[in-house]
């Protein structure tokens, strides 16, 4: 019951905001914000309760299709659930005072804005809780429309209406293509095995599915989820979406929505069609490795800071894919850790970069500006920490996921071609080098000020204020999480350890790289 409540609270808060709490007075006096904050806080509390008590619910939903309302919590979903609920609170707190401006008197858009944030949260939580493949698919789709509204309607007001519509449309269409391909894969598994229960399917470990079916299902599922993650070369929707999205939307998109793709691979592919995934994994590893280099190269030349962070996400998800592909327990642990790490780091970066964009009026790196350390040292330091974590500096949260992913891929599970994986590791190391290069490029430009030769006449901007109050609180919180995750990786690793072991099964644990931690 707790789990259904966990989904109902944000969903109903969203509906209430859409339908009831939209008087002009409510928005002026902040009660709209209060409702949203209360809804997200209660959700966070319920998530913590669910994480501790590990309840489950299993009811009939659509008997004709054999679909059950089956929700459960395990070690793999707990960190993602907590991340989602916590970041929603962060985003709601941060958005106070940054609600979309009204152009028409009496226009009530703040309620819609917060409602969309809470509905995105509902969809993400439902995805991480679902234990029925069809429910998983439906939950996967729930985030689309609210996110589309966030990008298209509440996006960057400096961008043209058409640009916003294009970015939002591209996001939805790519994601729908991905999820429909995933649906084909799910239906293939469901029609051949006769059940859509993910627990039963994971226990069966592909029993009753011949090799060809498994490979076909794995191709469809990984292909579909790969668009969502996004994996190179299906990543082209991500940078425009991030460029246009409001800060809150960018944070949720990077930190939560992208995780739904990798989580899908862990939940629906690896245990359900293990043989199929083994066949697909060399390609996944190569694609992941290419993504690290591709994302890094794009970051080296990108002028827009938000797009740059988006491309760095592509690179980071490449490392996660590499870890997943290795098929070992270590690799899966690395991927799950990398998932959370990227969630925290990208949330931090998007909050800081969004804040800078607010102050600068644009996020163009070629416009020369006063050095951040002089103008707004708090934001500057946070940016340094964020990019340091992104380049995988030891002692910060980004380090463990990437290092372990490379280590696991160097010694993949026994049934995988070692040569291909080692080649992928070599390529990914190059990507790691590029990450250092682009991180330093950004830090030099921003921390020290514009570079001498390419100065563009700076537009007249007012003195940039440093982060204060709410903004500084949430940024500081994420900086603390980044450092804490880097210094103390054990609790997070331990949370996922057991369930990761059952997910990879015998082959991964007993394989060459299985014993290491």
């Amino acid at each position: 019951m707790v789990l259904t409540l966990l989904l109902l609270v944000p969903a109903l808060t969203g509906v209430v905001l859409l339908a009831v709490a939209r008087t002009d007075r409510a928005e002026r006096r902040g009660s709209t914000h209060a409702v949203a904050l209360a809804g997200s806080a209660v959700t966070l509390v319920l998530t913590v309760v669910a994480a501790v008590a590990r309840p489950g619910v299993d009811l009939r939903w659509v008997p004709t299709l054999g679909v059950r309302w089956h929700l459960a919590v395990d070690g793999i979903s707990v960190p993602l659930l907590l991340l989602t609920a916590a970041l929603t609170v962060v985003v709601v707190v941060h958005s106070r005072g940054r609600e979309p401006a009204r152009d028409v008197p009496g226009e009530r858009s703040a309620a819609t804005f917060y409602a969309c944030i809470l509905l995105v949260e509902t969809g993400a939580l439902a995805t991480f809780l679902a234990r029925d493949a069809i429910v998983f698919f439906v939950a996967f789709e729930v985030v689309l429309v609210p996110m589309w509204v966030l990008i298209g309607r509440f996006g960057d007001q400096h961008a043209a209406e058409q640009a916003r519509a294009d970015a939002a449309g591209r996001f939805v269409l790519f994601t729908v293509l991905g999820s429909t391909l995933m649906l084909l894969g799910i239906l293939l598994v469901v029609t051949r095995t006769g059940t859509s229960d993910l627990v039963a399917l994971a226990t069966a470990r592909g029993a009753g599915l011949d090799h060809a079916t498994q490979v076909a299902a794995a191709v469809l599922l990984v292909g579909g989820l790969g668009i969502k993650i996004p994996l190179w070369p299906a990543h082209s929707w991500l940078p425009p979406a991030h460029t246009v999205a409001p800060t809150a939307g960018s944070v949720l998109l990077a930190a939560v929505l992208l995780k739904m793709g990798t989580y899908g691979i862990v939940r629906v592919v690896i245990p359900v069609v293990p043989d199929g995934f083994t066949a697909v994994s060399p390609y996944l590893a190569l694609v992941g490795a290419v993504a690290t280099v591709w994302g890094g190269l794009a970051c080296l030349v990108e002028r827009d800071l938000k797009r740059l962070v988006a491309y760095s996400s592509v690179a980071h998800m490449g490392f996660v894919a590499l870890g997943l592909a290795s098929g070992t327990w270590t690799g899966l642990q690395a991927a799950l850790f990398g998932n959370i790490a990227h969630g925290v780091v990208s949330a931090l970066l998007f909050l800081v970069v969004g804040g800078l964009k607010e102050r600068w009026g644009s996020a163009d790196l070629q416009v020369a500006r006063a050095a951040l350390r002089d103008v707004s040292p708090r934001l500057g330091w946070s940016l340094v920490v964020g990019f340091a974590a992104a380049l995988g500096l030891p002692g910060l949260i980004g380090f463990w996921g990437e290092l372990l992913a490379l280590y696991a891929a160097w010694q993949p599970a026994g049934d995988r071609p070692v040569g291909v994986f080692r080649a992928a590791v070599v390529v990914a190391l190059l990507g790691l080098g590029l990450a250092a290069a682009y991180a330093l490029r950004v830090l030099r430009l921003v921390w020290v000020g514009g570079s001498g030769e390419r100065w563009v006449t700076p537009p007249q901007v007012g003195p940039a204020r440093d982060a204060r109050g709410r903004e500084w609180a949430v940024v500081a919180l994420l900086v603390a999480a980044t450092v804490a995750g880097g210094v103390l990786p054990r609790p997070l690793m331990a949370a996922t350890a057991d369930d990761a072991r059952t997910t990879v099964g015998e082959a991964g644990v007993a394989g060459v790289g299985g014993g290491g931690r």
């Binding site: 299709l65 429309v145 939805v172 269409l173 729908v176 293509l177 429909t180 029609t191």
Partner: protein, 488 residues
């Protein structure tokens, strides 16, 4: 001695009776307008109640009427039979007709050119045909009821007498005649192949392995073509946009709702009789389905007139309706019917909102996409219901029933291993999202302050239609089983 189960026949007889009473009342008391709607409403409710009784458990059982006495071991011959799926379709047709009636009712003071009794009685007659064809089990009544479901609509489409209306009606007439000719030929082939006019499984049983097999396959392909006209499947779709746009709005609603149910009901009568469609018919179904989806979506993307947009979306959705029939099984039949019902509910909801907006804006400007600028803000109820209907058609949450319908429609395709079709359908799901989100985006747009539309003076009955269809969509999205369970 024939046995007749009158209760089973009531859903067909009640609308017919209603149509007659309306005409009689009009002769006796020519000034009563409201009375016609009351009579029609009562007859539809009565018929719907009778179908609900048919739906009682055990669901899935076939109930039959108009049976000849069986002799010895020979099975009884029945000329009317309703399966679980059939009863679901009948109920949906009756409810769709009721919504159409709500939208057709301006209830204005009567003038000399009032055509209320004609409209109401023709609507009831066509509804009776739609309900009847679902249960028809012999070629004669199958053809007659199917045409009864079509011909009154042509008259209704032509009734305004404007050039646009006549153009649409003539196109519908021509199409219907061709369709009838094709279906008559199909009936002839069926009779020649099986030697019996009965549309039942045991009639087909004797044909397998005989030279008549080819003739039967031809009959099935011809049935597909003939029904294709009525379902607006490519390449028989050309009449749809013209007729929808030319006919009065309630008639377009009828064509999009009740007529489609009649057409699929007729098709399912034939499909359930067959144990296999034969390679030719299967490939035809698959190709036609995919072509409809693709062409319908592509053209719908470029429409700026909402009724034309809905017309092309009908073409696209018709493809989704027949695509599950590549699996000739109970699974395929149920999937097809479920998808159709989802489509009908959401299209009725969308059309109800369009009816209110058209009336509020006065004249043809309500048909333009720009008339919906910022509808969600101007009028949250209308905007909300339309948004829900569009997301259902697109198969996106919050229209969860649309998502489930997509799952249901694709399942038989995957089960039978039609990979190419499945992948093209997936691509079309994306195209469909683009089509409906284009309209959705308009709903969210900032309303242009300069041309602030006047308050919408809706007819109360139209609002009832909006609320009812919207409520049904919400209920189905929370619990899709309500719809899927209806079909047994």
């Amino acid at each position: 001695m024939t046995t007749v189960d009158w209760g089973l026949l009531l859903p067909v007889l009640a609308p017919v009776l209603g149509a007659v009473i309306v005409l009689v009342v009009d002769i006796a008391m020519p000034r009563v307008v409201l009375g016609h709607y009351v009579v029609a409403g009562i007859s539809l409710v009565l018929a719907a109640a009778a179908t609900v009784l048919t739906l009682r458990p055990p669901v899935g059982d076939t109930r039959a009427s108009l049976c000849l006495p069986g002799t010895g071991e020979q099975a009884r011959t029945c000329f009317y039979a309703v399966t679980g799926v059939g009863a679901g379709l009948q109920l949906a047709a009756l409810l769709a007709a009721a919504v159409t009636l709500l939208l057709a009712a301006p209830l204005e003071p009567k003038d000399e050119h009032d055509r209320t009794p004609v409209t109401v009685s023709l609507l009831l007659a066509a509804t009776a045909g739609a309900v009847g064809v679902v249960g028809a089990r012999d070629l004669g009544s199958w053809l007659v009821t199917l045409e009864l479901a079509t011909l009154p609509v042509i008259a209704l489409a032509a009734l305004p007498g404007t050039r646009r209306a006549l153009a649409g009606a003539v196109q519908l007439l021509t199409t219907s005649l061709v369709s009838f000719a094709v279906l008559a030929l199909a009936a002839a082939c069926w009779y020649a192949a099986t030697g019996t006019p009965r549309l039942t499984a045991d009639a087909v049983l004797g044909v397998s392995g005989t030279p008549q097999k080819g003739l039967l396959a031809l009959a099935v392909v011809l049935v597909l073509a003939g029904i294709g006209f009525k379902l607006s499947l490519v390449p028989f779709h050309a009449w749809t946009p013209t007729t929808y746009a030319g006919a009065p709005l309630p008639i377009a609603v009828f064509l999009a709702g009740v007529s489609k149910i009649a057409a699929l009901g007729a098709l399912l009568v034939v499909v359930t009789a067959l144990s296999s469609l034969g390679k030719a018919a299967l490939v035809t179904t698959a190709v036609v389905a995919v072509a409809s989806m693709t062409l319908g979506n592509l053209v719908a993307l470029r429409q700026d007139d909402v009724v034309r947009l809905l017309a092309w979306s009908t073409v696209a959705q018709a493809g989704w309706v027949v695509v599950p029939l590549v699996s000739v099984s109970a699974l395929g039949v149920r999937a097809s019917a479920s998808y159709l019902l989802t489509y009908v509910v959401s299209t009725l909801a969308a059309f109800s909102v369009v009816a209110v907006v058209v009336r509020g804006s006065g004249g043809r400007s309500g048909y333009r996409l720009t008339a919906y600028d910022g509808l969600v803000r101007r009028h949250p109820l209308l905007g909300g219901v339309l948004a829900l209907a569009l997301t259902t058609l697109a198969g996106l949450p919050p229209g969860i029933v649309g998502v489930v319908a997509k799952v249901v429609a694709l399942r038989p395709v995957i089960a039978e291993g039609w990979w190419v079709i499945a992948v093209v359908a997936a691509l079309n799901a994306v195209l469909g999202v683009a089509v409906y989100l284009r309209w959705f985006r308009v709903l969210l747009a900032r309303p242009d302050a300069s041309q602030a539309p006047a308050a919408v003076p809706a007819v109360p009955l139209h609002r009832v239609a909006v609320v009812v269809t919207g409520g049904v969509l919400v209920a189905l999205s929370v619990q899709p089983q309500l719809l899927l369970g209806l079909l047994g």
